[in-house]
């Protein structure tokens, strides 16, 4: 069955079609046994999961806890709170900047009177000192990646990121600080441009990376699993493949690529995953069941590619 037909029938079962499209789906189901079987499958999967009784039994306690909190704690915001801690993110960032500026000015004033060292780094500070300030995931105030730039001649990567002010880190793609920032950019759910930029950087610098970094591979796997944008998932697949040039996939990375090849809704991604797997693990017998599954893909190109690849495997598999 074609992919567009599958999607049409999924929306039919989800009751999301207008009258004309619904009538077309019903005509198809009446005429085509394969479509009928597909719809039966979908209806089987719609499990009406009721709330478990033991959870339902705890709802009165939940009500009581909420009521107790509302009455005992100062839940409602006091009027001055909106000034000190605004509702919106931009306002909060400014509040934090203001608070930090006050702290720094106060500390600078005190240290200045004591003849202490200046608080702010001087211009031309050594890159090592900046690298040491690279953000650790989840620690300190870190407001996202603002830009990533690759020097095509040297392969050096420059990452600009925001804390209370903009910072810059330069280094090779394998540098731990650069790796940590790229990983942070890949996992930043609120910054799709940052994710795209990090993926492009990984694709363009893969040749300068001696071995795939485990954290980056995990972040790429996370992108492949969670990323809603097909274009970014495609870039993630390519980055994963390029980072593994000359290296075999570890089991988790291989499992993720297999998952994409078999289950991704986008056929371009399934094709890319199939090609990636066969380049990386060509001739390995353990791909056989997945290639066999791929021969039943809705996409004719994937079917033919999987069949051709299976035909090349008999030398390594006695049973075929």
């Amino acid at each position: 069955m074609r992919e567009s037909t599958e999607h049409h029938l999924i929306l039919y079962v989800a009751n999301e079609l207008d009258a004309d499209a619904r009538a077309a789906a019903e005509a198809l189901i009446a005429a085509d046994p394969e479509a009928r079987a597909f719809v039966d499958d979908l209806q089987t999967m719609q499990q009406p999961a009721a709330l478990p009784q033991r959870v339902a039994d705890q709802l009165p306690a939940l009500e009581a806890r909420v009521a107790h909190t509302l009455r005992t704690a100062s839940v409602a915001d006091p009027p001055w709170r909106a000034w000190l801690w605004p509702e919106n993110t931009a306002g909060r960032i400014w509040a934090m900047r203001l608070a930090l500026a006050v702290v720094l000015l106060t500390a600078g004033f005190v240290l200045g009177r004591q003849g202490g060292a200046p608080l702010m780094p001087e211009a031309g500070v050594a890159p090592e000192a900046l690298l040491a300030q690279a953000p650790q995931a989840g620690a300190g105030y870190f407001d996202g990646i603002s830009d990533i730039h690759v020097d095509p001649l040297t392969g050096q990567v420059e990452v600009r990121y925001q804390t209370v002010a903009e910072r810059v880190v330069r280094g090779s793609p394998a540098d731990p600080a650069i790796t940590a920032l790229l990983e942070g950019a890949l996992l930043d759910a609120n910054n799709p441009a940052g994710r795209l930029n990090a993926l492009r950087t990984l694709v363009s610098t893969a040749a300068h990376t001696p071995a795939p970094d485990a954290q980056i591979v995990d972040a790429l796997r996370m992108v492949l699993t969670e990323e809603p944008n097909d274009g970014l998932r495609l870039q993630a697949l390519r980055a994963l493949g390029l980072l593994h040039s000359g290296h075999t996939f570890e089991a988790p990375a291989k499992a993720t690529v297999i998952e994409v090849m078999l289950n991704d809704a986008n056929s371009a991604l399934r094709i890319e995953a199939l090609q990636l797997l066969t380049q990386n693990a060509a001739g390995t017998a353990d791909l056989t069941p997945y290639l066999e599954a791929a021969t039943a893909d809705t996409n004719a190109f994937i079917q033919r590619s999987a069949e051709r690849l299976l035909d090349r495997l008999p030398e390594t598999i006695p049973n075929r």
């Binding site: 999924i10 499958d41 009721a50 478990p52 509302l70 969670e226 809603p228």
Partner: protein, 194 residues
């Protein structure tokens, strides 16, 4: 848009905590149910729902009656549930498969208790396979599938709840359906034979 909750919401906005108690009583089941499908663990679901109601009370002055109260509070609860899941990953820095294993355990416990169509001898086995397949979905794929098929939200409403485009929600639904169908292929064939 006017709903039966509007009077209670207005009263709660003017500081009537009893009115808010009534809103909690009316909608906690739906909110906990949605959250449970995302976080898997029953205790976490109750904690997240509690936090969502308290947060809703705190932000009640921003509620503009442009949607139903239950939709608004569900959106707060879903965001809280998704960020709880994300914080978990960051905090523990678990490898994906370990995390998924932990999810399977929790989500499976919830889904095993769900009533399923009678499949005779195959019932328990099918339920377990179904629970495992659901747990293997990403948080958003699972949330979309359950919001659609269990809670019967329209895709447009789910897009509003998750804060993304309707096309993205469709994509999640296609991916979730495809993954579930493939994971349950063996059991489906058995079910047809029986």
């Amino acid at each position: 848009m006017h709903t039966p909750d509007d009077a209670l919401v207005s009263a709660a906005q003017h500081g009537d905590t009893r009115a808010f108690d009534a809103l909690v009583r009316q909608h906690n089941r739906a909110v906990v149910h949605v959250v449970l499908s995302i976080v898997g663990s029953e205790q976490d679901a109750l904690d997240v729902a509690q936090e969502a109601f308290i947060r809703a009370y705190r932000k009640l002055h921003t509620f503009r009656f442009e949607s139903a109260f239950v939709t608004w509070v569900t959106r707060i609860a879903i965001n809280e549930a998704l960020s709880v899941q994300k914080r978990r990953r960051w905090r523990h820095r678990l490898r994906l498969e370990q995390w998924q294993e932990a999810q399977t355990e929790d989500t499976t416990r919830f889904l095993w208790t769900a009533p399923t169509p009678d499949r005779g001898m195959l019932g328990d086995e099918f339920r377990r396979a179904y629970a495992r397949a659901m747990a293997a979905l990403s948080d958003r794929e699972r949330a979309v599938f359950i919001l659609k098929h269990t809670h019967e939200y329209k895709l447009r409403e789910i897009a509003g709840l998750l804060g993304c485009a309707e096309g993205t929600v469709k994509n999640y639904l296609f991916r979730a359906t495809r993954k579930l169908r493939r994971a349950l292929a063996d059991y489906r064939d058995h079910a047809r034979v029986h």
